[in-house]
Amino acid sequence: MENPPIIEMKGIRKGFPGIVANDDITITLQKGEVLALLGENGAGKSTLMSILFGLYRPDRGTISIKGKEVQISSPTQANDMGIGMVHQHFKLVHNFTITENIVLGLEPRKGLGMDLESASKRIKQLSEHYGLNVDPDEKIEDVSVGMQQRVEILKMLYRDAEVLIFDEPTAVLTPQEIQDLMKIMKNMIDEGKSIILITHKLKEIKAIADRCTVIRRGKLIGTVDVADTSTEAMAEMMVGREVSFTVDKEDREVDKKVLEIQGLNVINRRGVMGVKDFWLDVYGGEILGLAGVDGNGQTELVEALTGLTRVESGKILINGKDVTHSNIRERIESGLAHIPEDRQKRGLVLDYSVEDNFILENYGDDRFNTYGFMNRGAIRENSEAIILDFDVRAGQGSDTPARSLSGGNQQKAIVGREISHNPDLLIAVQPTRGLDVGSIEYIHKRLIEQRDSGKAVLLVSLELDEILDLSDRIAVISHGELIGLVNADEIDENEAGLMMAGVAKGSKS
């Protein structure tokens, strides 16, 4: 036989109150391979990796490294054994330099002071070696998210990690950055490192992984060779049923104008014009997709439309009514609904129950408010209806704290809440970010239903595929300006990509 696998987790079981997150799961990682760990959100991937990284102790099962059984009881110990983890949420000190962040915890000493210089040199070497292109002297707060991720990777390389665990590494990256990351991973494999990639994105698995272990609801479904397995087959293993990747959508005539944006200018937090002289109409019965590279004014535009930010000049009309200076509540009452970009920051009060989150905007309605007291009966009814209608899976039903919902269900809860208001205009920002295939499919279906019932949908997304699949018309924003407006069937991915990069195509409407 060949060498023993670099890592073998055998029969791992881990339970939390009320659930079994991992149930008899076995995985092996060979030296020099990329093993993908595929599963929907909440399937137990992160728990399994946390066990490997010493954050949790398994209730049962064994871990072996190079054929030798080990106990891992802390991340430090995991590091010592050559295991490094790049977390989904980076753990960096923002006002430290990259070097300082990397050496944190094992500061090189020189007399009484720190020998940052030699550390910096070594980081530079590692960076060049793996094609990371990192400047060790920059401060974290000055570098992009993609760069921060590379710092996390360097942190592990600096600690001589043999095995790197990537937890959903592409969730926060732009398409370009994703490609760069893939290259970096390949370099690492070439250098003899081994990688475990936690993800639910099949495209990435196809692109980089050698083998793929699929977990569903805490249980091991199977391990397959990526080269021999179709994307559809893997998706089916993950979700447990057949998944359709194409969106069915029938042509339909548009109705009246719902949203009119007239010459909008918005100043952003840095005091710079974030949106410049922006004109756009959105009609009932269409999905208008707003495409663009992250940070090109999408956030400012959405905040201005929803009332979270002040408009410098220009006008916003909803159903013909000028809401430019209306407050948020008034806009909601005029028929606006908003699926926010950051569901945990804006969309939910995580410490509230699901049912309380469902009335976040309309708790004051007569239905829920009897002489200043909460009408619990009506609130529960409302909640049960949304849960049922939008397939929100919550352990304790309406009483479940929003915090304990999985990401997909949090998003479904928000989408359900917003659509349940029956809005004339739905602004959906990154509505499927970080979600699994099943949830994405479901949310896309609901957005199209909105359109089909004659409502207007403004879809803002960084995922070009999503925009191309769903939209009737596509608007492209670059540097805060509208640089193109085309019918969706008149454009392909490459053309759209060029426009996103700022190259205008003849404007049409």
Binding site: G307, Y352, Q396
Partner: protein, 368 residues
């Protein structure tokens, strides 16, 4: 409701364990200073509870703490940290005292007017930091600390200038019986203790605050802003108005505490003191899990500690300074409830696992 009971039960268990650990730590400290902890605690509790008068005094000691605890807890529920309960208590107490010393009315009306004055005074002292935060984003911790000192000096100036007791140097005139929360039947019932109507107001107000936070739309809105300001903004709530409102209510609560302290427990207001009750309120709120009912019972516990300490010192060789240290240790340990929660979680997991292992049954997560 059924589903919430185990949660309540758990919170209570956690807090009782915290208190017990605190007592144990205090005991270790007593042993290490050469004292018998059983004797120490026996005298502590005896001092607080051994006869009607002492029970009454314990409740009276707890009364202002209930109010300041509620004040801190209310603000905390809405995401604000109110360090200014001391100043609000002073402001409320000053206003109530001013009314009590100047207005002549039948007792029930006068007390009602004093209550109103306390609410206005304390409320104003909460309103200002709330206003500054809403409008200029001045952090409420800074603003409330400043307001503490403003209250301190306002009292320092106002009391000698307008309400000075003729024979007293650092106190206002004595509150006449007609303006005191003390009532003869209660004082007699508990053998001359200081228990006064303030205690009953405190229980009533605790219930009211509980209802506001749990049952009303206002409470829903305020708490939403406390848990997640961004989401409250997103949902179109008037976050700034709520900050002001919340701080005003918190201030008013501490203000009523001032009424109960200076026109109930004490008989006049004093200058040169920033009352401790305001700061104890933070600990009360913390140990009371920021819930009005939790605050009520925690304040009673603190009342026992403060009230019984003197007798413990008198009956044992534990000097007063050590007595205070023990109480501080107790509070400190009581505040470690998070650790206890984690521990309970762990035990719980083990328990659940064992059951599911034994029965071979897999408990599925609700959904993914």
């Amino acid at each position: 409701m059924k589903l919430k009971l185990p949660h309540m039960h758990r919170t209570m268990t956690v807090h009782l364990i915290a208190v017990f650990l605190g007592l144990a730590a205090g005991a270790v400290f007593m042993i290490s200073t050469g004292n018998n902890p059983f004797a120490g605690y026996a005298y502590l509790f005896k001092g607080a509870l051994m006869n009607y008068e002492r029970i009454g005094n314990t409740l009276a000691t707890a009364t202002p703490l209930i109010f300041t605890g509620l004040s801190v807890a209310f603000a905390f529920n809405t995401g604000l940290f109110n360090i200014g309960a001391s100043g609000q208590l002073l402001a409320g107490g000053l206003c109530a005292t001013a009314v009590g010393l100047t207005v002549v009315l039948p007792k029930p009306l006068l007390l009602l007017l004093m209550l109103l004055a306390a609410i206005v005074g304390g409320g104003l002292w909460g309103f200002i930091p709330g206003f500054l935060k809403a409008l200029f984003n001045v952090h409420e911790v800074v603003a409330t600390i400043m307001m503490n000192w403003i209250a301190y000096w306002v009292v320092n100036y106002t009391v000698p200038a307008y309400f000075k007791g003729e024979f007293l140097e650092t106190e206002s005139r004595k509150i006449p019986d007609i303006a005191s929360l003390r009532v003869p039947w209660l004082t007699e019932l508990l053998d001359g203790s200081y228990l006064n109507l303030g205690f009953f107001i405190a229980i009533f107000v605790s219930l009211v605050i509980w209802v506001i936070l749990k049952k009303t739309v206002l409470g829903y809105e305020l708490k939403a802003a406390g848990f997640n300001r961004h989401a409250a903004e997103y949902a179109g709530m008037k976050v700034n108005r709520n900050i002001v409102l919340s701080m005003t209510i918190a201030g008013a609560l501490a203000g009523i505490g001032g009424l109960s302290l200076y026109a109930g427990y004490a008989v006049n207001i004093q200058i040169g003191i920033l009352p401790n009750q305001g700061f104890d309120g933070i600990a009360v709120s913390l140990l009371g899990a920021n819930s009005p009912i939790g605050v009520l019972f925690t304040a009673l516990f603190f009342g026992i500690l403060h009230s019984g300490k003197g007798f413990m010192n008198a009956m044992t060789e534990i000097p007063p300074e050590i007595g205070e240290t023990i109480i501080a240790i107790l509070i400190y340990f009581a505040a470690t409830k998070i650790l206890i929660e984690r521990f309970l979680d762990k035990m719980n997991t083990r328990f659940v696992n064992r059951i599911s292992v034994q029965t071979g049954e897999v408990i599925e997560k609700g959904g993914n």
